[in-house]
């Protein structure tokens, strides 16, 4: 099985631009990407549609982490998944260049909130991404009961087409 994440260059640039905006107290910003899905045999395509940043008021003060989402942030993302029937991917950036990776805190928090999306939309997979300034890494959950697994390939659709391995 190969999982490919495709996103237009325009959308990816907009997300990167948004995630580096300063926040009143959080050290970093986070957001959510909605995506359509398609498959062929055992290959899966995640096709990014839109991005919504977590609202300024939906961050919690927690100096131990870069950014901590409050319950409203999760509720709004769940609502998005429910109303549009889409896959939802949490996203944040570590900046820099080259393939980024999740921190231990990222992994811990994702394992808490990503499975909750399966309570809302069971027909879609969900996941999380971390960006750098020229790459990305991510995990996808195909089932709310099993751990996430790495997204195999990323494709930035634009001029030029830019693809890189996620594993």
């Amino acid at each position: 099985m190969t999982v490919r994440f495709k996103i237009t260059r325009h959308l990816l640039e907009a997300i990167r631009h948004d995630l580096v905006r300063p926040h009143a107290f959080a050290h970093e910003r986070v957001g959510f990407i909605s995506a359509g899905l398609s498959s062929a045999d055992d290959d899966l395509w995640i096709l990014a549609r839109a991005y919504r940043p977590v609202a300024d008021d939906d961050y919690l003060r927690d100096p131990s982490v870069g950014a901590m989402m409050g319950p409203d942030a999760i509720r709004k993302a769940l609502q998005w998944a429910l109303s549009d029937g889409v896959a939802i991917f949490h996203v944040h950036t570590h900046g820099g260049r080259g393939r980024p990776g999740f921190s231990g805190i990222d992994v811990r928090e994702q394992s808490k909130f990503v499975p909750s999306f399966f309570q809302i939309t069971r027909k879609c997979p969900h996941g999380a991404l971390v960006l750098s300034n020229n790459s990305a890494y991510g995990n996808i959950w195909l089932d709310g009961r099993k751990p996430g697994e790495p997204i195999g390939c990323f494709i930035e659709v634009g001029m030029p087409l830019h693809a890189w391995s996620g594993v």
Binding site: L11, D41, D42, L47, A50, L142, V157, P160
Partner: protein
Amino acid sequence: MTRFDRQSFLGADSETTLHAATLGLVGLGGGGSHVVQQTGHLGVGGYVVVDPDHITDTNTNRLIGGRLADLETETTPAMAKVAIAERLIQGLQEKPRIITIRDSWHNATNELKRCDIIVGAVDSFIEREQLERFARRHLIPYIDIGMDVHELGNKKFLIAGQVILSMPGKPCLRCYGLITDERLTQEAERYGAAGSHPQVVWSNGVLASTAVGLVTQILTPWFDAPEFVYLDYDGNRGTLLPNDRMKFLRGTVCPHHPAEETGDPLFDVREFNKLLSNLELVTTEAPTTPVSKKWWARMFTRIINQWWRS
């Protein structure tokens, strides 16, 4: 020095990038066959070539790679256009990855999803619209080429055509005015009554060459090219010029293919997981392919094998 040395200005990694790319080619007639030949020369490594037809006598004025010996005889059937394309690529590439589908592209969607770019050289507006919609749904850049010969009267004719790059999110064939409801209606009314369209090899060549240039731009750009392109071909004047709409539509987001339409609306991950489980079951049941040995078991086997060989 490699055989691609003369195109090294495309970038240090261009050879690898082009070889790794997979191109979908729908329609392998006068236009598509030129694209096959040129991308073969260029070094594109992967192909999904789709066309339901075989070569006929009236194709031989323009079908690149087609030979008179490929025509139907009393003892042999006519060669399929996909087989001609495959032969052409294999003559130009050492290890090409070719999937040939002698069918309508509607029955090749699984293979086309895997393509980085789709080039459409199809005959009708409805096919153009549907193919572009499929490409947009899967965030695949779509390049459309087409030409026609129009009668001007007094035995005078105009050769005209277009090359369009339809990039996801950017203006589409409808935005450009190539696809209109009126044209689709007219075409539907003519369905089944249309005779053969006049086609000539040199015009197809101009349009296909330009399309191959766009393919190259997308994969290994050599300058900052625009992300959407509409070029008008005037075969009488010998010009290929940007359509005015390119200027007017700059900065606009396509309203005809909204982002909400990407993906398969019927996709259900539970069905996908069932498919994966079934595949896993087949793999684990096969006695000759032990794919999931533990690392220490693999290491132990390797050590024993090395000891045995020594």
